[in-house]
Amino acid sequence: MANRVKRILEAWPKLLLLAALLASLGFWLASGRINPYFMDILIKIGINVILAVSLNLINGYTGQFSLGHAGFMAVGAYAAAAVTMFPGPKILAMAPASLLAPATAVFFLAALLAGGLAAALAGLLVGAPSLRLKGDYLAIMTLGFGEIIRVIFRNIDSLGGALGLNGIPAYTNIFWVLAAAAVCIYAVLTLVHSTYGRGFLAVRDDEVAAEAMGLNTTRYKIIAFVVGAFFAGVAGGLYGHYTLSIDPKGFDFMRSIEIVVMVILGGMGNTAGVIAAAILLTLLPEFLRSFDQYRMIIYSLLLIILMLTRPQGLFAWKRTAKPAAQP
């Protein structure tokens, strides 16, 4: 019986997606009855899931160790906010009053997509030069890009500069977050279970062998960066319209590391694990607020201990191939 269900699920991923979208809608409709603090947490979880799953595509499946994911998030956040704050009011003013709510929703979707595309462009810019690099160098390069993006935003006065951008309209709600998470997971899993996925894994396991076999490793690496960055941008857009005020300091190296920890904890290349890790690492700080000063210490020790004892992550149910060892 379980097998039948499994096979149906496998054959109808789109059905799952639809179900998830409907569930998100349901959540939103029920949101009036749920404590706002918990809604807050759910939204945070959703955003972190998107970030972690998108980073997992780059780091976990394709083996390109990116430490600048927060930079893509920043691009998406600023781009989406710029769309809703600057041309936004003028465009929405054109909508008849009775259609304002759906018009706003459609507009927000457009803003999120704009954020995602802007981030995807950034992903392309970061991905392209990094093709020549491996391992440590790639990591530092992506870190550098993340920092550069942050410094650039800090210097753009029209986007608030160091003060940050305030007064972003509060468009994010539980529906958008869960729906976006569902779409992101769907997209990543579909990609991974296709020929592209084979390409990603090949690049991760042994790039030289993959090249020797005629695979265009460049193409796969760029796709991974672009798709990963796109969703990070969407997450950024959602984040901006949730906190209502963003500033460059919130997208620094530490933020990137927090996402990296989720990916490592969940197991690189293990989407389900990464989702679980994202949920766990969003909930834990909330429950342990009084121990917050120890949080980063615990995270760092976690990283070390995980690498020493269980590099495949905490939630590896099936054996995922470990990143290739070098002689």
């Binding site: 391992g135 920092e147 210490i297 995270y299 060892a325």
Partner: protein, 297 residues
């Protein structure tokens, strides 16, 4: 013209500190082919050692100050060796990625533990040696602390080159850097050499930390992050694995940064270091003095 010369002095003194930190990065990379992310935090620990030891040194003499520096170097050398033993050695055979992640973990741990132990707010670094300012007739100024940086960096650089080129252990280090399996076959105790390298690099970081603290007497647990990243850029600029290259890279980066800071683009100065890194990696990955390494399969 005066402004230009003064900026030159400023740039070189900033660069000398980067050079000192860069030496540690480059040595470890040369031997083990990995970036020790935690290096910048050993630098920070060195500065804090100076802060605490400095309290005992009430004499405020040059000799006292140097003694504090030596003690800090010893403590950090030990710290470096312990880190290597506990966190990096067990991963010697596994992928580069795993060690990188572990290094990040160690770095974060030191920073956050430092925050817990020392407190996150900046502490005033004690003046370990008497300070004087020197002004030339033309109006150029240099402080005794800046001179100390040049002197110490120069001495340590020469000492390091001598150790690596002229001593037995230095030869062993070079052998391990070249091919550690072959070195092991020749009877070299690779573990010992690696420990020694870490110890040496960490001691240099500690010296850098003290000098940095003397010049910028405001230390906090995150003080190593940005200088560390810039020093890494400096090491890559000069050719990673190459000792004189690290020094050259450090000085160059210091100069570039200072001139940018004195210009219209001053708020981009942090980004400039990374831009330099990206440019170097794209166009001359071996660095200025390095040799291009072909990846063999």
């Amino acid at each position: 013209m005066i402004v230009f010369l003064q900026q030159l002095i400023n740039g070189l003194s900033v660069g000398a500190v980067y050079a000192l930190i860069a030496l540690g990065y480059t040595m470890v990379y040369g031997i083990l082919r990995f970036i020790n992310f935690a290096h910048s935090d050993v630098f920070m620990v060195g500065a804090f050692c100076g802060f605490y030891f400095g309290r005992w040194e009430t004499g405020h003499s040059l000799a006292g100050g140097l003694l504090v520096m030596v003690m800090a170097m010893a403590v950090c050398a030990l710290l470096g060796i312990i880190i290597e033993r506990l966190a990096y050695r067990p991963l010697r055979g596994s992928s580069n990625l795993a060690v990188l992640i572990t290094a990040i973990g160690v770095s974060l741990f030191l920073e956050n533990a430092g925050q817990l132990v020392f407190g996150a707010d900046p502490k005033p670094f004690p003046p370990l040696i008497p300070e004087r300012n020197f002004t030339s007739p033309a109006g150029l100024t240099i402080s005794s602390n800046q001179l100390l940086v040049f002197a110490v960096t120069g001495v340590l650089l020469i000492a390091l080159q001598w150790i690596v080129m002229r001593t037995k252990i230095g030869t062993a280090m070079r052998a391990v850097a070249f091919n550690h399996q072959a070195a092991a076959l020749m009877g070299i105790n690779v573990d010992l050499i690696v420990s020694f390298t870490f110890g040496l690099g960490s001691a240099l970081a500690a010296a850098g930390g003290i000098l940095y603290g003397l010049n910028y007497p405001s230390i906090d647990p995150y003080m190593g992050v940005l200088p560390g990243l810039k020093a890494f850029v400096a090491a890559v600029l000069g050719g990673i694995g190459n000792i004189p290259g690290a020094a050259l890279g450090g000085l160059l980066l210091g100069l570039i940064e200072t001139f940018v800071k004195g210009s219209r683009l001053s708020t981009y100065s942090d980004a400039i270091a990374f831009a330099v890194l990206i440019l170097i990696l794209l166009f001359r990955p071996a660095g200025l003095l390095g040799k291009f390494q072909v990846e063999k399969v």
